[in-house]
């Protein structure tokens, strides 16, 4: 079930009403309802993979208990590695097996041997990368004695499969989510309204920004050899907005939905396109994944303790692994590698924590220096996104080559202007500008719409919300999947 589907528009109020009006007296019943609703939500996509989700949950629940009960370090290690290997084994089979088989065959072919790799015709279970990471963080935390194992299987299952975060995150931590699941929840009017507001903003990001930009970004990327440099640049920028609207829109809907049930999820985005350097960008983009890699990979590898070169090595490792996490394709690995290269100067010079606060705090406009830094960071990000979006490395290189060579050709400008005039609905560009403006105004909040308009007169504020709602309804047609479902 997609967040932007009519099915979800029926599903959510039903679960909400049952949760707060019918079984609000019993925490046990509320958690059971959440579990049932989450499994139903997942089954709407493909019920067969419920068994995989259930098995993964059971495995981590059991190994968690075993780690805590183990009498010696050897046994603790055994249960930890059992959980890690089975979890990563599933991920490997479903997500990476074909990639490794084909890459091996290609590598062998280079030295003159021909092998026909045995590939699997498997569907990637939606959300597998996300719930696997939930489970892993849980058992690792138990191993390091940061948390005690959860004894109640229903509560633990809700932690893994809570429907707002099940298929595309945020990647939660047991230390953050489990205590909320175990604690009695009371209805909070202000939080519920805030949740609805965040859902509305998320839907707008997905339907109004991402899906509209996608139409033209797809057109340009799929036929990049037909277009001039400036048009390709336009396509790359549109993709940057598409992926941001798509993924952060999903996260906003997830956070807003969870808040309706009295649960706060980890923040996943913090206005990344207003970052002044790449290090700041990565503190603001897909925060739950970045912090996961920091806590469970970067720090165990030694983090920044072993000196500058250790830090450089570890940074490269986490960016490459992060790229690979996104999918079994060299494009993602190069995307990760490119980001690692971008961030290197600040790692070496020790300036990676120079911009920790929001840009232009308390001001309406950024300084010229800040604006320049934002635009430079955005440009670097857009170039990296080309690898993320392209079908393969050759296409990405071809795209960048054509874009950079044609950037200063006059005929290209004419073509882009023609395209803007004839093919791209100018309304889309107006919407993108409007979106950037609201994001800028709300950049110091949890999400853009959190405070924007709150001080306006009620009729004006209502009119503003109706306008947003109208845009969502008017532009929602075909239900487009979220990009991160494929990861």
């Amino acid at each position: 079930m997609l967040f932007n589907s009519i099915d979800f528009a029926f599903f959510l109020p039903i679960v909400f009403l049952l949760y707060w009006f019918v079984i609000n007296k019993s925490l046990k019943a509320q958690n059971l309802l959440l579990l049932f609703a989450s499994y139903f939500f997942y089954a709407c996509w493909d019920w067969r993979f419920l068994f995989l989700l259930f098995f993964s949950t059971l495995l981590d629940y059991y190994t968690g208990l075993k780690i805590a009960d183990a009498q010696n370090l050897r046994m603790r290690k055994f249960w930890l590695w059992l959980s890690i290997s089975v979890n990563l084994g599933f991920l490997g089979v479903f997500k990476y097996y074909n990639f490794f088989a084909q890459s091996f065959a290609e590598a062998i072919a280079h030295v003159g041997f021909q092998v026909n790799p045995w590939t699997l015709k498997v569907i990637l279970p939606v959300g597998i990368s996300f719930y696997t990471f939930h489970g892993l963080s849980y058992v690792i935390d138990i191993y390091y004695q940061k948390i005690k194992p959860e004894k109640n299987f229903v509560d633990y299952s809700v932690f893994v499969s809570f429907f707002p975060l099940l298929v595309a995150g945020p990647i939660e931590r047991a230390t953050h989510l489990l205590p909320q699941i175990k604690k009695e929840r009371t209805f909070d009017y202000a939080k519920a309204v805030d949740g609805l507001r965040q859902i509305l903003w998320g839907l707008l990001k997905k339907i109004v920004i991402a899906d509209q930009c996608a139409e033209y970004a797809n057109l340009i990327f799929n036929n990049y050899t037909d277009y001039s440099g400036t048009t390709l640049l336009l396509g790359a920028v549109l993709f940057a907005f598409q992926i941001y609207g798509d993924f952060s829109g999903y996260s906003d809907i997830a956070l807003g939905t969870a808040r309706l049930f009295g649960i706060e999820l980890l923040r996943n985005f913090a206005f990344p396109y207003f970052s002044r350097d790449i290090a700041e960008f990565w503190r603001r983009w897909h925060i739950s994944l970045s912090s996961w890699f920091r806590d469970y990979l970067y720090i165990p590898l030694g983090g920044s303790k072993g000196g500058k070169w250790m830090r450089v090595r570890n940074t490269f490792i986490i960016f490459i692994v992060s790229g690979f996490w996104h999918g079994a394709n060299w494009t993602f690995i190069v995307w990760g590698l490119l980001n690692a290269l971008y961030i290197m100067p600040s790692i070496i010079l020790g300036t990676n924590r120079a911009n920790l606060d929001s840009v232009a705090q308390g001001k309406y406009l950024p300084s010229l220096k800040e604006l320049f830094s934002i635009l430079t960071t955005f440009t670097l990000t857009v170039i990296a996104w080309i690898f993320f979006r392209a079908e393969n490395i050759n296409n990405a290189i071809g795209f960048i080559k054509r874009m950079s060579l044609g950037l200063f050709q006059k005929s290209g400008y004419v073509e882009t202007l023609n395209m803007l005039y004839w093919e791209i609905n100018p309304f889309v560009l107006v919407l993108v500008l409007f979106f950037v403006l609201i994001e800028w105004l709300g950049r110091e909040q949890q999400y853009a719409l959190a405070k924007v308009g709150l001080r306006w007169h009620t009729p004006v504020r209502l009119a503003f919300y109706y306008c947003l709602l109208f845009l969502v309804i008017a532009l929602s047609g075909e239900e487009h999947e979220f990009i991160y479902f494929q990861f």
């Binding site: 009519i6 099915d7 029926f10 009006f21 209805f187 519920a192 532009l475």
Partner: protein, 306 residues
């Protein structure tokens, strides 16, 4: 607190819900080919002697007015065999005079189904207008959710403001839009259609559709009704480019059904040389000239068979 939240939320959403409700009602009030055919069958199923079922190949290629017995076309664009069977069984007990049903069994139809095709949005018409509850998607039960806002707005404007009726079929259910005055590039259309039909072909659908045809044949046999399985004519640009293996699979299955069942005859007009360029609207559909030719031909085959 909770009640306050619900009341305020509903008050905020009320105009939107009201608009949605009114739009749904207004859209359902607009007559269309599905509602027309359903109404016709409700009133006249007892008088029909010859019934056409199937997809666009039947809808455009067979004109009931050229048959010597009272005929009606319940076929429609992208109509799957599953819905053909549902229509047939919906009026069970009301086919008082039905003697023959014609089902188009084409390459495109047998390897596809409506729900998984790009035309899946048409499913809602069978739910809303025929009353077949056959989808687990909420949007298939509503007009407003099945098409986008812009398209629904156009439909409302066109019917209520411009007074244009969206019913395009003839009184007897035949598709009137494929006119000979419109000239299409048959070579190009043939390549495109054959590529599309081959690319979307799924053997799993073929097995299911085979079972559905068998059910139809059994349904008909139990009621002394004859079944004509028909493969409609296609232009060479289409037949030259389709998957030969799948075509052979289709033909041999239909021939086998003809051989096994006494109440079945298979008519294969795919490469019928009587149909010339002028008879085609596009590479796999006939225009009104071709439809007349095929209808008269089929009428004579049915009469001779009897």
């Amino acid at each position: 607190m909770m009640s306050r939240f619900i009341i305020r939320l509903l008050s905020f959403l009320l105009p939107v819900l009201l608009m949605g409700f009114l739009s749904e009602l207004a859209l359902r009030k607009i007559p269309n080919d599905y509602s027309y055919k359903k109404d016709y069958l409700d009133k006249n199923s007892g008088n029909i002697k010859l019934l056409f079922l199937g997809n666009s190949h039947s809808y455009y290629d067979l004109d009931p007015q050229y048959f010597s017995v009272p005929a009606f076309s319940a076929a429609y664009i992208s109509q799957s065999l599953f819905f053909d069977y549902r229509i047939l069984t919906k009026y069970d007990g009301r086919w008082d005079r039905l003697e023959t049903i014609v089902v188009t069994a084409t390459y495109a139809g047998l390897f596809n189904n409506l729900e998984s095709s790009v035309e899946a949005w048409r499913t809602k018409n069978y739910i809303i207008y025929y009353g077949f509850l056959s989808s687990n998607k909420v949007k298939d039960y509503f007009e407003i959710f099945s098409n986008n806002y812009e398209f629904n707005k156009l439909r409302l404007k066109s019917y209520y403001l411009d007074n244009v009726s969206p019913v395009t079929c003839s009184e007897l259910g035949w598709g009137t839009e494929y006119k000979s005055a419109i000239k299409n590039d048959l070579i190009d259309a043939g390549n495109v259609a054959a590529t599309r039909h081959s690319a979307n072909a799924d053997v799993a659908h073929f097995s299911i559709n085979k079972l559905v045809i068998n059910d139809m044949i059994k349904f008909a046999a139990d009621r002394n009704i004859n079944v004509v399985l028909l493969t409609t004519p296609a232009y060479h640009a289409y037949t030259d480019n389709i998957n030969k293996h799948q075509m052979q699979l289709t033909i041999s299955m239909l021939e086998e059904m003809d051989a096994i069942n006494e109440n079945v005859i298979y008519v294969n007009s795919l490469n019928d040389k009587d149909f010339i360029e002028n008879d085609f609207y596009d590479a796999d559909h006939l225009n009104e000239i071709g439809a007349k030719k095929l209808s008269l031909k089929l009428d004579s085959i049915i009469n001779n068979w009897k």
